[in-house]
Symmetry: C2
Subunit: 527 residues, 2 copies
């Protein structure tokens, strides 16, 4: 499908991955910190290693040109990029591979695929970049269906229209991040939405999963960038008006934003853009104590300054990522603007941070190291899984009044679960990915020593305990990773039951046969 | 019900209204500009002037203590504050008066009223401050129901909890604006949400109608202030978690925000608050041309400065309101902060405005005059209707690229409709109430000469033409006034049909008997 080949078994392009030096540093950390012994090399699977079940579906002649049952494509569309998926990939478990991968080039072709799937009782799983870490794209739909179709939207990859005056663009949903930014650049515009998955995720995927960009405050969520949407559903096409604001009833777009492919297939969006920033200021600050850093971050978040970056990383997470020696927590504070120098903003924010015990570091080295580590992180899984390391992330949001207790509870529960599941201590770290005036979005990472080939069971134990603690502590099961299949048990506890019923009723209207991403958001009907 | 008596026939308290001087100025404008002749005084109706139909419902003994059929209460709950309602009030038309006014003091009592209404097939119309200008609270529900209950929520008026750390408060939905701000003041906090109706509207009403505050940019919509909601529906209670942010599926709150009493009765909310501002800067600027002013406003809105005020008022609207002599459009530009002096922000914004042809006025007089006029406006109707003036407002939002054509089209269509309906020219003015990076929210006011007692028919003609033009020009039928009964025909054109179907399905789940504010948002079922 053009260009370099995406790995079906890991992150990014074939041939890319951690450097030898990055790998060495990571494994050394595991040796020192959680007792990793010698690592036996396990090569990643190759296409020919996997025995796929013969496709159960045969597309009609009219769709043959956009459908394939080619093994590599079926493998690529079997999984997202979560830890348990990686574990199953290295175990050569592709039992839920889609029967067919369809690659529509227009809304009409999306409709045609949905129509055919409805006729033959096939489940359809919309697929953007496939970077889900919550089981959002795996065709694990049970026995109710005659087969599964992964609906790859990456051929819908055009920038259709640019409105420079309003700073907005009409974009097809299958555009990947870099292609979108490249297309906007000649117009002097940017979406300025940079999730960690940026290179390998799509506009439609961002909208369907309510993705968060890497900016810390104010305009960072895709939710706020959506001006209007076009969605193809089994019941027809739904298209909202381009409006800067509207008070006409509940927002139609807010029903589709976060719908995770279960209510319809987002095919186009008008997106709100920004001018490309030209003024910047950035600083790195140290805190002896993460909780003290949290107080500083709260003060900045409540000051109405709106920094572009306000990322607090605890000491151990700094250590894991080679940012510093683990002696202090790091705060990256930055402002940027396309209109005006940001010195006044930065000075005031620095004053607030110093008032709360932050020490200005002599230069930007640690901030730079953090940025590099952040971009490289998704590749680490390819080293961790073969080495028998259970490493995963989960994230939440909580109001400030409950943050300290929440942090202690979640960290404690995860550490205890690691001990119970693996028989030894692991590492649990925390950073803030986003900060609101009323609370932070804490993002946890854990590392535990398992046994290669037997990682799933202890992972499940740890995930269960961590998720239970998130909910019991008052948080959300996900701040920007989405629900997918993995978070359904906790999502069902978290959301108001009546809202769940209303959502199911909405789904029954838009997707009467229940073929769209079954089991996600709305519990699957039984066979 | 405590304190001073609310007018059932006009705005605010009995005894309040335009001063003699304000009235003289307004009538003089009408004499000069649209040919108003002598005005025959018509007194407002008194309770004893109105013959009400005997109540068709008898509440059960268990609810007798919170229900009344007292004539003043039935009259007060018959209407909101729209122009056509005022015309009918002065015509003594109270045919749709509710049979019963219920005033619950707890969620359980709200549930009990809904339960009783379901049993006897009564329609229930949630009522906050009753300031709707779109027919949102009139019990005009057709013949399908055995009677109507106006559900007055103003006894749910407590500030229940304050979280100073996260700057949030748990508030009952029946609190009026001034009571809320009074209760928050000792905590150093403010909701900083000041719709024009502030004195006579409630937290729940704001949420149910997606109200807009008077601040121009960034945090001004009630949508953004809602941290969580508690809603009582006929199917049970729905309560969301307090979360600063969450990516767990479509937002449950965003379904209820803007639900206009048709999906449930909002009884409580956690609201995001702000520190009380202490730093301020304000300036008034003049533009010869409204469209030139719009270009300046766009540049400020896209600069990332986030002024608290950025109100552009066209020359004739300045004249009507006694702000200036009608020789220029006015731009009120202001910043405020609880954290830092705002001089840098204001200087840059002034620079941008001057670069676009704005002339700084020597002092703040016009800005002050505008603010006073803004607060006094709702009282004008009590002078206009008896004088035979057809005067109303309508509002929208549109992207910048289409603004000039939209403004010309809507103004032109409204002017033409006034001529067609009244046989003479009227006045149509425009201001921006809110401004977004991708477009403004233009707010139109029209004044036309009618005949006392025969105002409804020409009003309908003008409203129809103006609303048709809003939709044809690509705008929304309402930016912050809501849909109510008056906007339903255009709302149904505007919203995606499939979203309407999904909303109807959600309503059928939450309100199976269809008793909640029938005819609003979801078309009423036939008898």
């Amino acid at each position: 499908m053009g260009g370099r080949c995406w790995k079906f078994w890991g992150w990014g392009f074939e041939g890319d991955g951690l450097s030898a030096e990055e790998e060495r540093r990571l494994l050394n950390f595991y040796r020192k910190r959680i007792g990793l012994a010698d690592v036996a090399r396990r090569p990643p699977p190759a296409v020919e290693d996997i025995a796929l079940r013969p496709p159960r579906l045969q597309p009609p002649a009219s769709l043959a040109g956009i459908c394939t049952a080619e093994p590599y494509q079926r493998l690529l569309h079997s999984y997202g990029k979560s830890f348990p998926e990686a574990a199953r990939i290295f175990a050569h478990d592709f039992n839920n591979a889609p029967d067919i991968v369809a690659r529509p080039r227009s809304d009409d072709e999306v409709s045609a695929v949905l129509g055919w799937a409805g006729e033959v009782n096939a489940a359809v799983i919309p697929f953007g970049g496939g970077s889900s870490v919550v089981g959002g794209v795996e065709p694990a739909v049970g026995e109710r269906f005659a087969g599964t179709v992964s609906l790859d939207l990456r051929a819908l990859d055009e920038l259709l229209e640019v409105d420079r005056t309003s700073r907005a663009a009409r974009v097809q949903s299958g555009m990947l991040g870099p292609a979108l930014e490249r297309a906007l650049k000649p117009h002097g515009l940017t979406l300025r939405h940079f999730p960690q998955s940026f290179e390998f995720s799509t506009v439609g995927g961002w909208i369907a999963t309510r993705s968060g960009g890497h900016f810390a405050t104010l305009y960072t969520h895709i939710d706020d960038f959506v001006e209007s949407l076009r969605t193809v559903t089994p019941a027809g096409v739904m298209e909202s008006r381009r409006l800067p604001g509207s008070g006409a009833g509940p927002s139609p777009d807010r029903l589709m934003i976060g719908s995770e492919g279960a209510l319809g297939v987002i095919t186009e969006a008008w997106l709100r853009l920004q001018d490309r920033p030209t003024f910047r200021a950035s600083a790195a600050l140290a805190f002896d104590d993460f909780r003290q850093g949290a107080l500083a971050v709260r003060a900045v978040a409540q000051a109405g300054l709106y920094p572009s970056n306000l990322r607090l990383v605890d000491a151990e997470e700094c250590l894991v990522n080679g940012v510093n020696d683990g002696s202090h927590a790091l705060l990256v504070l930055a402002f940027e603007s396309a209109d005006h120098p940001v010195g006044t903003w930065q000075e005031r924010a620095l004053e607030v941070v110093r008032d709360h015990g932050g020490r200005l570091l002599p230069d930007d080295t640690e901030a730079q190291a953090w940025r590099t580590a952040f971009i490289r992180m998704p590749y680490a899984r390819e080293v961790q899984v073969p080495a028998g390391i259970i490493a995963d992330t989960f994230e939440s949001a909580i109001t400030w009044d409950r943050f300290e207790a929440f942090h202690a509870r979640v960290k404690g529960a995860t550490e205890a679960a690691i001990r119970a599941a693996t028989g030894r201590s692991g590492v649990v770290t925390c950073r803030f990915t986003h900060v609101y005036p009323d609370g932070p979005a804490p993002y946890f990472t854990f590392h535990a020593l398992g046994r290669p080939g037997a990682l799933l069971e202890p992972w499940r134990h740890i995930k269960q305990a961590a998720s239970d603690a998130l909910l019991a502590g008052g948080g959300t099961i996900t701040h920007h990773h989405a629900v997918g299949r993995d978070h359904m048990p906790w999502y069902r506890q978290q959301r108001p039951a009546l809202f769940g019923a209303a959502l199911a009723a909405a789904k029954a209207t838009l997707d009467p046969a229940g073929i769209l991403n079954p089991g996600v958001l709305v519990p699957a009907r039984s066979a």
